[in-house]
Symmetry: C2
């Protein structure tokens, strides 16, 4: 039985906890947090300790905000153990030298109120030596069918790409929702379209899948749409993405 | 048995043809096109005629580029029949007065190489009188489980919303793909994230589902990402959508 310490209790930590908790050969020893009073999750309650009080574990997974990783890694009260962070955008060497370093980055968008099939979550791994990398692969392969070895540089670019295809895409959904609400239309009408747009790229490259007035250079429709949009930033987004689609033909 | 004339042979016409072709009570009488030599689809070949040669049908569905609708409607060689267009962005009155007017707008993104489950395609209907509206509803309800009555004004705003959540979203996928390719990463790593982002809004509003550096006001990460992006228009899109996410909190 291998032991795991999890540090943090945000969206990523929560979903990692749920997934690891289902494994037979691994045990979550403790969940380290900076401040005990913030936690109200019954399930995890008896595992909670202050980070300073953590006991050594085979693997320590740090799942806190990017800017807190360095400080948290420093606070860990043991050394010569494998300590990994889960951030898409943080270099491996931000971790403290007293422990062996690694990265265990789940490339997925997590919300506490939405279940995720962890088997499909791509896990991007990095470590300083082969034996630690194998240790991470062993765990990762039990959790997911999509395990990749990704360097710090690749991970950095992957994270930028992820912001575009996920965070920014979701904001476009928010804009669509707002336009519907403002015009007494149910946002539900758009949901099949949203799903189909995502589904399509399983079969076509996004470039092949591009449709709409911009790619058709349908300037009459584009002009009508720009006139329709009163919110200045939405109008600006419309213009800029239209221009980008037309440049990339 | 009701008869249908379909005019056009683009993506929308093709998918309408396939869906209507499966119905028992409707028959595609002819497919009207402006130029016969452009068509190489074996399946539809024996139904093709020039628009001028179309015989009257119970319903005529015009599925051509928006800018061609008016001209095509004028060319139809019969009158007092129900003639509808399938455009999200064209007013009903662009159709010619010699026939009864309607709209039959399938709110979906169609590519010829990708099958679509038509039962899930929202169909937005409009007609000038109740009996024509019922005629369209009869057909629409056989084709899809998502049939809506939508006015010309609502349809206009719906189409703008659709451009954001589908055409523009797809372009963000293209940007993500480009970043991956440029850094020797398989775009496949991003696909589960893309699917989850779309799936999430079945359970959460897009506003609730928003994650990422912008909504966390994580200026350190945002700055790193902006530095990383060398393509000026991608950088501009990054800045603008980040700003829009932060304004809409």
């Amino acid at each position: 039985m291998k032991t795991i310490n999890l540090i943090g209790w945000g969206n990523v930590a929560y979903h990692l906890f749920s997934a690891i908790n289902n494994l037979n050969n691994y045990k979550i020893q403790n969940i380290g947090v900076r401040s005990l009073e913030k936690i109200d999750d019954f399930f995890a309650l008896n595992l909670l300790v202050q980070i300073d009080d953590l006991k050594p574990a085979d693997i320590t997974l740090i799942a806190v905000l990017d800017r807190a990783i360095e400080e948290v890694a420093e606070k860990i009260p043991y050394k010569n153990k494998l300590v990994v962070h889960t951030s898409g955008t943080t270099a491996i060497d931000v971790l403290n030298n007293k422990n062996r370093k690694g990265v265990f980055y789940p490339l997925q968008t997590f919300s506490k109120n939405k279940e995720v099939n962890f088997k499909e979550v791509p896990l991007c791994l990095e470590a300083e030596n082969d034996s630690d990398l194998n240790e991470l692969k062993l765990l990762a392969n039990l959790l997911s069918n999509n395990v990749y070895e990704i360097s710090s540089d690749q991970r950095k670019s992957l994270h930028v790409a992820a912001v575009f295809v996920s965070n920014f895409t979701n904001h476009l959904y928010t804009i669509g929702n707002k336009i519907c609400t403002d015009n007494n239309i149910s946002f539900n009408i758009l949901k099949p379209l949203i799903n189909e747009t995502a589904d399509k790229i399983r079969y076509l490259s996004p470039k092949e899948a591009q449709t709409g007035p911009a790619i058709r250079f349908d300037s009459k429709t584009i002009e009508k749409h720009e006139d329709f949009l009163k919110n200045p930033i939405f109008k600006e987004i419309y213009k800029l993405i239209t221009q980008s689609i037309q440049q990339n033909v």
